[in-house]
Amino acid sequence: MKRLIYISGLISAILLTTGTSFKIEHWPGAGVLLTVAIGFFALFFVPAALMNNYKQENKNGYLYICIYIPILLSFSAALFKIMHWPGAGIMVTIALITPFIIFLPAYIVYFNKSPNKDITKFIAVMFLLVFIGVMDALLSVAVR
């Protein structure tokens, strides 16, 4: 199971990169590749990996849920936007703020409760959030 999860993660990363390259070059098949990659990633890899990680300790279930919801929403919003499917606008609006209103509070609660407060991990998570914020800002200016 563990190996299957690793391989599925790697495959979706490879498919996604191929899909984005196709998209930039306007070659046919980009849409299918991206849909399969993001669908596979958000609907199989992330939940399976999180479940696998959760099962070793069976603690802090809320944190896993609060990680999964923003990931699912963000990636499906990006997919809807790229494929120009209806409903993309609403999804992007929701997806923009979910990391900050669902994941961030849960992570702070988790961090304050954890026995060894590893500040470097906290900084890594903060950098990821800042990076998401900067990318959101750039996207909002570029996308019309």
């Binding site: 990363a13 390259s21 930039i24 903060m126 914020g133």
Partner: protein, 286 residues
């Protein structure tokens, strides 16, 4: 209950001082702690010498010095202050940026103010304090890595703000930021990783990873500046990253782990998010 003589206590004290424990409160606490341990051992019927050497073996050679370093770090006011600054500015600036993006997309008033404020907090407070905390956490080693990190990220965030607000000078700032990332920061990062790594077999993997990252980031710069060759670099960089670096690295590092680690999930989500958003931005500016 066995009790140590004054000479014995004095001897332990001298040993501690020889290990360069010079923070007075800590010296007393450690001395008290070790004496208690030695007395406890002696209660089992062994003499002072044996009990003391058991305790010393238990502690290892530089455990006391490490405790002192950790204590100094925790009692350092600047460090604690920087840590709170880092937490608050990080949370507020990233949330402000996301809210600004939402406002911008919905064409509500105030997006520009939120965005400037977010980027201002990010570059003036979050980046310097986060890099300071990381530097201190690493016991003040590798000064240049953190300096170069600051030198690359500061112009970059400022440049993005200038670009978003259509202020003059954005192009220069972004070029300087990305240039410093590729020329100074990433090579130093690779050097430090290789120097510090316990596993020499990871060196080629890390080199491939950093090189492909450099190509991708340079490609983004070329694209923004409309220089030729951007498309090829944006194609090659991520391809090399996901086809060579990711499988190789995961195979080497995560093979011995029994479950899927958070690091792997974090790495994949970060990579996929980066490639996806840079593509979206790419599609819109081309």
């Amino acid at each position: 209950m066995a009790e140590l003589s004054l000479q014995q206590v004095e001897r332990i004290r001298k040993d501690l001082i020889r290990q360069s424990i010079n923070y007075s409160h800590l010296l007393h606490d450690l001395l008290d702690h070790i004496c208690c341990d030695v007395e406890f051992e002696m209660d089992r019927g062994i003499n002072f010498e044996e009990a003391y050497s058991t305790i010393r073996n238990c502690m290892g050679t530089d455990r006391c010095r490490k405790i002192q370093e950790e204590t100094l770090l925790l009692t350092n006011n600047t460090y604690r202050f920087m840590k709170s600054i880092m937490k608050f500015s990080g949370i507020i600036s990233s949330a402000l940026l996301a809210v600004a993006a939402l406002f911008k997309i919905q064409h509500w008033a105030g997006a520009g103010i939120f965005m400037s404020l977010g980027f201002f907090l990010l570059s003036i407070f979050f980046l310097p304090s986060a890099i300071y905390v990381l530097y201190k956490e690493n016991r003040g080693k590798r000064f240049f890595l953190y300096l170069f990190g600051l030198l690359s990220f500061l112009p970059l965030t400022a440049g993005v703000l200038f670009k978003v607000q259509h202020w003059p000078g954005a192009g220069i700032l972004i070029t300087v930021g990305i240039g410093a990332t590729v020329v100074l920061f990433l090579p130093t990062l690779l050097y430090v990783k290789i120097e510090d790594s316990q596993r020499k077999d990871l060196n080629p993997v890390l080199t491939v990873g950093v090189l492909s990252g450099m190509i991708h980031i340079l490609g983004l710069l070329f694209k923004i500046m409309h220089w030729p060759g951007a498309t090829l670099m944006i194609f090659l960089g991520p391809m090399a990253f996901v086809l060579i670096f990711l499988p190789w690295y995961s195979f080497k590092v995560y093979k011995e782990k029994e479950y899927v680690t958070f690091e792997f999930i974090f790495l994949l989500v970060g990579v996929i998010w980066f490639i996806l958003t840079s593509t979206l931005i790419n599609l819109n500016i081309s």
